[in-house]
């Protein structure tokens, strides 16, 4: 999908976009706090420092080369002609943001939004591999994510690449639709998280001798729920800024984006509270919080183009999918994902993309072509599974051969805070049983 009209520099619309972009780091803050809360107390400071580190590394790598590979729709890109149609494969910007107008115009706003977005994508594997992921390994992995995986896919979707051109070239609706990053940010992050967890393996003690998973409870439900509130505000900024700067929506659609984002998250939470209440006898705070984020993620695919009832329906389905998927991954597939990030970002992101193909009402699709929007969405999801997943798996597998992702068994026993940072997150409050265990 190609943005139709962007706000002029120094216009009130551009000022509004600056404000919206400024909200986006709150989504990263919320996710980082949730990552820390979902783990055990002995790894809380480590989780926060790793989160801040990967956001920093992602910003720097995106500045160095990521933006150049991603590019911006309508500016320079590398194009090949296939069957007489132009296929844009990779951005053609210059490294280090050179050539970017520094005047408050849309390109620099898009660069800022993307710098925050790539940080959010990089946070997803941190939560999933919590309590065993080495700090340096997380930073190296982020270099690959921010320098290669994310920019390539984001170029194809947001940089005027071949997925965005599906509408123009093959009359598949408006091309692949992802206004707020359900695919580019969350599915990419969720699939990266899956590969990290596969390569790193489960935490010791997670599975019993009989192969059943044992519960390793989150250490702070208040942090997790506070993270939900922060993420909500961040997501409003992310979905609104994405709609205008990347999705081609006009400013008049922003109230609808706000409504749809909130409705989707709210419906997801209500559904998860109901499902976990019915299954376990009382609602589960962690799973409900995960569903809230899953609802936000699913809304990101097409928030400006959904009717409010459709957004609520997407949220309801996400609220069912996320807790059930977390349970299925943990019980049946042996995937130890403490934060639930694979389900929250990967599964809910892909669900949002598919639902957008069925439920989005596109105002300017050519007559007859909007019926094939679902096919554009399938092509995009196929690209996530067929390109992003193998690439991410290959990179993490290769990296693990030379620099193991996982901390030593002694380090896991000691706790990540003491082992990697030399100090506990809560040194004066010894309230958890593992703190009494001999180290």
């Amino acid at each position: 999908m190609m943005p139709a009209s962007l706000p002029a520099a120094e216009s009130p619309a551009a000022a509004l976009c600056v404000f919206l972009v400024l909200l986006v780091p709150l989504a990263a803050a919320g996710l980082a706090i949730m990552n820390a809360g979902m783990g055990r107390a002995r790894s809380a400071a480590h989780a926060m420092l790793v989160s801040l580190s990967v956001v920093s590394v992602a910003a720097l790598v995106y500045f160095i080369c990521g933006f150049a590979f991603q590019g911006i729709a309508g500016r320079g890109a590398h194009v090949v002609m296939i069957g007489g149609k132009p296929w844009s494969w990779i951005g053609g910007e210059r490294f280090f943001f050179r050539g970017l107008p520094l005047d408050g115009s849309p390109p620099i706003l898009i660069a800022a939004l993307q710098m925050f977005s790539v940080g959010i994508a990089a946070l997803v594997p941190i939560g999933s591999a919590n309590e065993r992921y080495r700090l340096r390994a997380a930073r190296i992995s982020t270099v690959f994510l921010a320098g290669l995986t994310y920019p390539l896919f984001a170029h194809w979707v947001w940089g005027g690449g071949w997925l965005a051109q599906l509408g123009m070239n093959y009359h598949l609706g408006r091309g692949f639709l992802d206004t707020g990053g359900a695919g580019c940010i969350h599915a990419v992050g969720g699939l990266a998280a899956l590969t990290v967890v596969w390569v790193a393996g489960a935490r010791p003690g997670k599975y019993t001798a009989s192969g059943l998973p044992s519960a390793i409870p989150a250490h702070n439900a208040v942090l997790i729920l506070l993270g939900c509130f922060l993420s909500w505000v961040g997501w409003l900024g992310l979905n609104c800024a994405g709609a205008v700067l990347l999705g081609g929506a006009d400013l008049g659609r922003l109230p609808l984006v706000v409504l749809n984002t909130t409705l989707s998250a709210a419906a997801a939470l209500v559904m998860a509270v109901f499902i976990t209440g019915a299954r376990f006898g009382r609602p589960d705070a962690s799973l409900s919080a995960n569903a809230w984020i899953g609802g936000l993620v699913a809304s990101s695919a097409a928030a400006p183009f959904l009717a409010p009832a459709a957004a609520a329906a997407i949220g309801l389905a996400a609220g069912a999918l996320v807790p059930l998927s977390i349970e299925w991954l943990e019980f049946h597939l042996g995937v130890d994902d403490p934060s639930g990030g694979i389900s929250v970002h990967g599964v809910a992101g892909i669900w949002g993309l598919l639902a957008a193909g069925m439920l989005a009402r596109l105002p300017d699709a050519q007559a007859g072509s909007s019926a094939w929007q679902w096919l554009a969405q399938i092509v995009g999801v196929a690209t996530l599974l067929g390109f992003v997943l193998p690439l991410s798996y290959g990179l993490h597998w290769l990296m693990n051969r030379f620099y193991p992702l996982r901390v030593s068994p002694a380090g896991e026993q000691e706790g990540m805070d003491l082992h990697e940072l030399g100090a506990d997150a809560y040194p004066e409050f010894v309230i958890h049983s593992e703190s009494f265990l001999p180290r």
Partner: protein, 62 residues
Amino acid sequence: MKLAGLLLLLSGWGLVLAALPLLGRASVLAAFVLAGTGVEILGLVLLVRSHMPSRQRRGALR
């Protein structure tokens, strides 16, 4: 099994990519894109199964 799963994922994507320029009619294109996605799902199942620890191995992680 891992390698086979990865190859199937890439092959399915290849089918999807090839269908776009080669097939003109939307209905035929849709059939090939869905077939390619089906191949990817097969690859994903293989990849998932190759990472499922056996009950004994899971127990050893205790």
